[in-house]
Amino acid sequence: MTAIVELEHVAKRYGAITALHDVSFKLESGETVALIGHNGAGKTTLFKLMLGLSRPSSGNIRVLGDEPAAGEFAARRRLGYLPESVSFHATLTGREVLSFYSRLKGEPTAKIDDLLARVGLTAAADRQVRTYSKGMRQRLGLIQALFGDPLLLLLDEPTTGLDPALRLEFYEIVQELQHKGATIVLSSHALTELEERARRIVILNRGHVVANGSIEHLRRIAGLPTRIRVTVASGQAQRLSTLVGPVPNWREINGHLVEFDAAPSAKIDLIRRATDKGGPAEDVTIVQPTLDDLYAHFLRNHGEAP
């Protein structure tokens, strides 16, 4: 596989502020990567560096074979970008904006009508963009990012301002592109959405990459406990307790429901004992640490030992 994006020891300083410290990673062809981090963690800076909108203070960046810092831009034909809170030339209509941008990418403008219909903008297409709501502008932004059959899509907070139905439509479009083999970088605050979609997660904190890997990999290295919830027959909680032995965060929610934590290494063993044949267990639910938990974990750890 070829690296679509390659960053080597990239740092970016704005005066006294260091926005990115020694960031290195590679994105392979066809990968979907979630970039997460709070505001100011360096996500947007990273996008701008990949686009050549700003230059790294040190380190090297290659995007689709180009070196954006040197002003090379040929590869941007096959690159789609949706900036955070996108804005357009306000006096042009939606259709005019799209036809301008599609021609800049050397695309036929014939596809525009279909795309407008797909995101539900047909009725507003001939209105000036300044009359658009935030969600409508976001949809327009999404369409323009799809021009040129992108090999690489950089989506900065793409679903903000979209209602749930459009969010689904959006992820459907993303999935189609995944199937075509596009590399997609998503940043978002809605972590649960990313959890199901991204095969790799990069967590940024104050300009440092604090975690990089698949969600399973991150769960493993984080060592976060899995929450196990067992439903027992009435009044059998005590029996369960003797079966599993001493466990952290034991909690009896009511007579039927018991919860406890299991460290990754002890998980299987504990589940086996809790659901032992002839035991009190009637049902068991396993709650894996979510991306939210992992994110909180990596931020906390990074804060302690930077």
Partner: protein, 276 residues
């Protein structure tokens, strides 16, 4: 080149949409027409060709109005798009920043040319309709007045881009643009005149004077149009200066073109270095 034309087209479309084109054309036409009819009253119609009178009054007007209009449309071309966030998306497309700048320049120049030709042309048409006799020489002088007016506009569009490429905020760009306008259109000549009066011709020779005049694009324009044609220079009382300045039309024209190219190049350089 295709990208440059696309961006120029978009710029023209925007100028049409926000009514810059209409406003500018109407302003120039209104001023030109009122000068044509009011301006001929004091001179009467004895001995002077009507179009030459119009050239004198219109080019004096151009020096004030065209730089102002040019700076108005150009000063926020870069910093304004950055502030509104539209530059971010545009520059993520396969275009170079130089192409963006040239496209904008071409678009703004087209708008300016359209307004000037139509606005000033209206004055000439009005004269023809009213039955004034116009010689071929006057027509040539009029055409070159329109051309240099557009060139003067181009100078100030380029200066506006340079301001826009350097500053961080639109308000700063507007402030500097007004300052530049005041300096080149009003203060420069006043200072030069003051210096000449104080000096009494002791140190400022005519060659120094002509060099100094080249430092101001509006003075180059003035020399070209008011001292250029024989009839016109007599009318405008500029023949004395023209002889003293000793600058041929070719030198003046090249100087005006240099005044376009230098700020435009600097703007391109500064914009290319800029980070978003």
């Amino acid at each position: 080149m295709k990208n440059v034309l696309l961006i120029a087209g978009k710029e023209i479309q925007e100028c049409l949409r926000n009514r810059w084109v209409v406003a500018m054309t109407l302003l120039l036409a209104a001023l030109a027409l009122s000068l044509t009819f009011l301006g001929s009253a004091p001179t009467g119609n004895v001995g002077t060709a009507a179009l030459d009178v119009v050239i004198v009054s219109l080019s004096s007007l151009t020096i004030f109005v065209v730089p102002l209009v040019a700076l108005l449309i150009s000063h926020d071309a870069i910093v304004g798009e950055m502030e509104r966030g539209t530059m971010l998306l545009l520059l993520s497309y396969p275009v170079s920043r130089i192409q963006v700048l040239l496209g904008k320049f071409l678009g703004h120049l087209a708008v300016l040319s359209f307004a000037t030709i139509l606005g000033y042309g209206a004055a000439a048409v009005a004269l023809v309709v009213s039955g004034a006799a116009i010689t071929g020489g006057s027509w040539i002088a009029f055409a070159s007045m329109i051309l240099t007016s557009i060139l003067l506009g181009a100078v100030f569009v380029a200066i506006g881009y340079l301001i826009s490429a350097i500053v961080r905020e639109r308000a700063t760009a507007a402030g500097i643009a007004i300052g530049i306008w005041l300096l080149l259109v009003v203060l420069f000549d006043m200072a030069l005149l003051g210096a000449l009066v104080v000096d009494q011709g002791k140190t400022i020779s005519s060659s120094i004077l002509s060099a100094l005049l080249l430092f101001n694009p509006t003075d180059i324009y003035r020399l070209f149009n008011l001292a250029g044609g024989e009839n016109v220079s007599v009318l405008s009382n500029m023949s004395g200066i023209a002889e003293a300045a000793n600058l041929g039309p070719l030198v003046l024209l090249s100087a005006l073109i240099a005044w376009v190219l230098v700020p435009l190049t600097l703007a391109g350089f500064s914009f290319s270095r800029r980070e978003l």
